[in-house]
Amino acid sequence: MQSTPTGRTLDVEDLTVRYGQALAVDGVTLAIEPGEVVALLGPSGCGKTTLLRVIAGFVRQAAGRVRVDGAPIDHLPANQRNIGIVFQNYALFPHMTVAENVAYGLRARGVRGPEVLARVSRFLDTVQLGGFRERLPRQLSGGQQQRVALARALAVEPSILLLDEPFAALDRNLRLDMQIEVKRLQRALGLTTILVTHDQDEAMSVADRIAVMNKGRVEQFDTPVAIYDQPQTLFVNGFIGTTNLLNGKVAALDGGTATVALDAGAMLRLPSPAGLSSGAPVMLSVRPEQLALSQVPGPESWRIERGLSLPLGAQLVHEARTADGASLKIVEPRRASPADAARIYCTLAADARPTLFPRPT
C-alpha cells in the first residue's frame, strides 16, 4: 500500500445521549490511542451502537465532546467528518456495481477521472476482489459483500474506522477469516478503529482494548487479558467468560489481605479490594479453570456434591453443588483428571486469581 496514514487519536469526553427521557449513553469517556482497535462490548441496548452513531455524526449528543487528534468534530455533519463506517448489513448500494460502490465516496469528494479508477483498483485488490468490479452486490456472498463494504470505507482514507457488528452476519469459519483480514488491513493502514460487538470472543481476538458497556455506561476499559482476569465490576465479571459466584463474609482484614469465610464452608485468604470492612458480606468470583477437585478435606477446601462431567474438547467440565446450594462449574484438562467420584472437595487452584466483590444485601 502506498499511503500509510498514521493513526489519529479519538477522544470521547463525558458523552451523553438522550432518547426522549431515556439515557442511551450516560457520561462516557474514552481516550483511544492512534492505531488502536477498541471494541465496544455489551449486551443489546447498552448504548454501544448509539455511541458509534454519535462518533459517525448520525446522532447528536445531549452533552459531551468527540475529538479527533484533539480537534472537536461535534459541529461537523456526518458527510464532513471523514470517518469510515462498515455496517452490520454492509449497506452496499444495491443498484451500483462493486466498482461504483467503492468509487462512491471518492466521487462525492470531487475526485475525478483516472485517479478514481486507480484508487478503486487498489482497494479492491487490497480486499482481494479485483475480479468482481462489475458485479452487483446481490451477486456476491456475504463475505465478499463485507469486503466491498470495507474497501468502500477505506477508499476515502478515513481518519477513523468504525465497524458496527461487521462479522455478525457471517458464518463461523468465514468470521475468523474476516477478523484476521480486518486486523491485517487495520495494522497495515495504522487506522484507529472502533468495533461494536456483543460477541466477547470477537472483542477478545480483534481488539487491543475493550470497553465493556452496560446501561449506557462504560463499566471497564482495559486490555482483554485484564478484563478477563481482573474484572472491576460484577457486570463485567458476569458478562465476560464463565464464572462461579460464591457467597461469603469477611472474617478478618489484615492490610491488603482479607480472610473470607465462604458459606460453602471454607476459609480463604485473598487480596482485598479497597473499601471492604470486617464482617461485610462478599461475593467471590472464580473462573471454572481456577477451581480444582481434591480427595482430601482441608481448611481451604469445601465439600461439594458432584453432578455431571462433560468432555468438552481437550477439557472436562464438572458440574457440582456446594453445601449452601450454589452451583459450580469446574474445568480440568482431561488428561489430568482421574475419573474417580471420591474427589468431593473443591479448592482454589494454585495459580487462581479470584476477585472479591462487596455483596449487596
Binding site: F87, N89, A91, F93, H95, A108, R109, R138, R152, V156
Partner: protein, 279 residues
C-alpha cells in the same frame, strides 16, 4: 393439489372477466367498423373520418399532455411529501397517511365540486390572493387547464404516494447514513441513492396517475368545462348526445390504445429498474 384443479380455481374469475370485460371490448371493436349510426353498414368510414381530421390529433395530444402534466405535478408535490413522511415519527405518519388517503375516501362528485368552490371567481384562492393584494383581478382558474391540473393533482395524489411510500419505506435506512459517511451531501444522496432505488414506486405511481388523469371524465368536464375537449368528453358527446355509437367506439379504442401505449412504455421502464429493490 394437481395442476388441473389449480387451473379450475381461476375459472370463475376468468369467466367473469370474459363476460364483463373481454366481450364488451370485442363488441366495441366490432361496432367501430360500421359506417352509419344505426349500425347496419359495415365499413371503415368512421375510422377514416376520425383519423383524417386534424382536430382528432389535437384532442389525443391534449389528453396525453394532460396526463403528463398531472404526473409531473404529482411527482413535484408527492416526492417531497413521501420524503417527509418517511422522516416523520410513527404517530405523525398515521396522521399523514390519513390525509394522503383522504381523496380516495370522498366521492368523485364531492371532491370535484369542492374544487369549484376553491377555484371559482369568488373562490377561496381568488379571495385570498385579492385580499393580500397579490392580484388585482380574480384569476381565471375554472375551465382552464391549469385549474384542471391543480384539481387532478390533488385527486390523484394518493395513487402516486401509496406506491412511492411503500417502496421507499422498504429501503435500508443505513444506505443514507452510509452515503453521508462517504462524504455525500443530502442532494447527492437523494439523486444517486434514494431516487434510483425508489424508481419502481415512482414508475408505478406515474402509471396509475397517468391512466387515471387521462380518463377522469367527471373532473375534466366539470372543472375543465366543455371548452377543453379531451377524449373522454368526445366519447360522451358522440355516444350520449349525438348517438353516433360507431364514432364513439372509434374514439374509445383510440383512448384505450394511446393510454395503454404510454402505460406499457412506463411499466417497461419500471421493470428494468425494479430488480434493485430487494437487492
Amino acid at each position: 393439489m394437481n395442476k388441473l384443479a389449480e387451473w379450475q380455481l381461476t375459472l370463475p374469475l376468468a369467466l367473469a372477466f370474459a363476460a364483463i370485460f373481454l366481450a364488451p371490448l370485442l363488441m366495441l371493436v366490432g361496432v367501430s367498423f360500421f359506417d352509419d349510426d344505426k349500425i347496419t353498414q359495415p365499413g371503415v368510414a368512421q375510422w377514416a373520418k376520425f383519423l383524417g381530421d386534424p382536430f382528432s390529433y389535437k384532442v389525443i395530444a391534449d389528453t396525453l399532455l394532460l396526463g403528463v402534466k398531472t404526473v409531473c405535478a404529482t411527482i413535484l408535490v408527492g416526492y417531497p411529501l413521501a420524503l417527509v413522511y418517511l422522516d416523520s415519527p410513527q404517530r405523525l405518519q398515521k396522521v399523514l397517511i390519513f390525509i394522503i388517503v383522504m381523496p380516495l375516501l370522498l366521492s368523485v362528485v364531492v371532491r370535484t365540486f369542492a374544487w369549484i368552490v376553491v377555484l371559482g371567481r369568488e373562490g377561496v384562492v381568488n379571495q385570498v390572493l385579492l385580499s393580500l393584494g397579490i392580484i388585482s383581478e380574480p384569476l381565471r382558474l375554472l375551465q382552464t387547464e391549469l385549474g384542471l391540473v391543480i384539481s387532478l393533482t390533488q385527486i390523484e395524489m394518493p395513487l402516486m404516494l401509496l406506491p412511492l411510500i411503500s417502496v421507499m419505506s422498504r429501503l435500508d435506512p443505513n444506505l443514507r447514513d452510509a452515503s453521508a459517511a462517504l462524504g455525500a451531501s443530502r442532494w447527492r444522496t437523494l439523486f444517486t441513492v434514494i431516487v434510483p432505488l425508489s424508481m419502481p414506486g415512482l414508475v408505478a405511481g406515474c402509471l396509475l396517475v397517468f391512466a387515471s388523469a387521462t380518463t377522469a371524465f367527471i373532473s375534466q368536464t366539470v372543472i375543465g368545462g366543455v371548452r377543453l375537449i379531451y377524449l373522454p368528453l368526445l366519447i360522451w358527446q358522440q355516444s350520449l348526445v349525438v348517438f353516433n355509437w360507431p364514432f364513439a367506439a372509434v374514439v374509445s379504442i383510440t383512448l384505450l390504445v394511446s393510454v395503454l401505449t404510454v402505460v406499457s412504455a412506463l411499466s417497461y421502464l419500471g421493470r428494468r429498474s425494479g430488480g434493485y429493490v430487494h437487492g
